[in-house]
């Protein structure tokens, strides 16, 4: 068999194999590559006669521009399997006390129905896939 034939058939089989592997095992691969993230929903708290949202301080991080953000977890429909991604969401903190932060309701920010990441091991990036755990 000529060298050229061996080389091209190898590449072609690799090609087919790669497609098959990533199509059939894509979900597992993505899951394995997605960092685990603990999440929670904001609670309500009353302070000074107002209703405020409460989140653990661990959920908050400072962005490059100096603003405060949290990671909001949402479903992604980009993939054939159900998956979750994180998006940076700005937060206007009113008060911080006892390891919790309090913030008000505002349009475009977190509300009580949003899942927020409260603990993570590796650095998260905008739009990254994650595996949420309670």
């Amino acid at each position: 068999m000529k060298i050229k034939r061996i080389v091209t058939i190898t590449f072609f089989l690799l090609f087919l194999a790669s497609v098959a592997v990533f199509v059939f095992f894509g979900p597992q691969i993505r899951a394995a590559l997605s960092p685990e993230v603990t999440y929670d929903y904001p609670n309500f708290a009353e302070a000074g006669g107002r209703m405020l949202n409460v989140l653990p301080s661990s959920a908050v991080w400072t962005g490059e521009d100096g603003g405060t953000y949290v990671w909001k977890i949402s479903r992604s429909d980009e993939f054939p399997e159900p998956a979750f991604v994180v998006n940076a969401c700005p937060l206007a903190i009113e008060k911080e006390k006892d390891g919790k932060v309090y913030f008000g309701f505002s349009y475009g920010s977190i509300d009580s129905s949003d899942a927020v990441a409260v603990g993570w091991d590796t650095d998260l990036k905008e739009g990254m896939c994650v595996r949420p755990e309670r």
Partner: protein, 276 residues
């Protein structure tokens, strides 16, 4: 570059060729021809190079995206593979049988039917597109891979090519085989197919490529994006979309590899194709 005769056996095979030009003109024309060849080759190959360069211009990240994080194109590639492989294998299977009949079995109306195949083969696909749309609706194939695969299996191209190829199989061979076994199918499988192997491979590769690049049929016959073959998805990428370039690279890698691997067979088969 060596031009002395006999050195490589190059001139042994074609004794007449060296008489084409003599003396000093030979060198000048050779040089000009070389330059022209290189230019033309570059002209032909340039798109491939551009795509490859751009696809890698951001390292391997786009490829990781292609496989893992943005599997849209991967799905398209998988669809294309499924459709093209099924259609091309199917058409070869069906057409080998048909070619045997066209080439070796005389019956009334054989020429008529064969010419019909040729005519349909030459028609631009729009002529058959509307009918195929109707058929796909009728048979409930609309928006399924079957809408592409089924007509693809019965496209007359392979039958035509294989008939031409099969005509060169000597009748005596078949007769001799028939003494050993009466079953025509066995003759085909054991005797004819090995003889025509290059032609069959050529027909398969060309059918695969034709199906792989088909753009108009999927647009008409399919609807959901997830089922689209990659050929259509690639329409929408922009020059800045490196992921798209990576996908394009993967896309033309398939027929390229196939064609590369079976180069000899395809060349041989095309030669037979021209013996119309």
């Amino acid at each position: 570059m060596v031009r002395s005769e006999g050195r490589r056996g190059f001139f042994e095979k074609k004794p007449g060729k060296k008489l084409y030009k003599r003396g000093k003109e030979k060198n000048l024309l050779d040089a000009a021809a070389s330059v022209l060849l290189v230019l033309f080759a570059l002209f032909i190959v340039s798109p491939v190079i551009v795509v490859a360069v751009r696809a890698f211009s951001e390292g391997t990240k786009p490829f990781v995206d292609f496989y893992v994080w943005k599997p849209v194109y991967l799905r398209g590639l998988a669809n294309s593979l499924v459709i093209s492989l099924s259609a091309s294998l199917g058409t070869v299977l069906v057409s080998v049988l048909a070619a045997y009949v066209f080439a070796k079995v005389k019956f009334r109306g054989r020429s008529v039917i064969f010419y019909l195949y040729i005519i349909v083969m030459m028609m631009p696909f729009q002529v058959t597109l509307l009918p195929q749309y109707i058929v796909s609706r009728r048979f409930e194939l609309y928006d399924s891979p079957g809408a592409m695969i089924l007509p693809g299996i019965f496209v007359p191209f392979a039958a035509f090519l294989l008939t031409q190829v099969m005509k060169s199989v000597p009748d005596e061979l078949i007769e001799a085989a028939r003494l050993d076994t009466g079953s025509t199918l066995r003759i085909i499988w054991h005797i004819i197919v090995p003889t025509i192997r290059p032609g069959i491979i050529c027909a398969w590769v060309l059918s695969f490529t034709e199906q792989w690049n088909a753009v108009a049929e999927p647009i008409i016959l399919m609807e959901t994006r997830e089922k689209y073959p990659l050929a259509i998805l690639l329409n929408e990428i922009q020059p800045g979309d490196i992921l798209g370039f990576a996908a394009t690279l993967m896309f033309f890698l398939a027929p390229l590899l196939l064609f590369s691997f079976f180069e000899d067979e395809v060349m041989e088969g095309l030669g037979d194709y021209g013996l119309k």
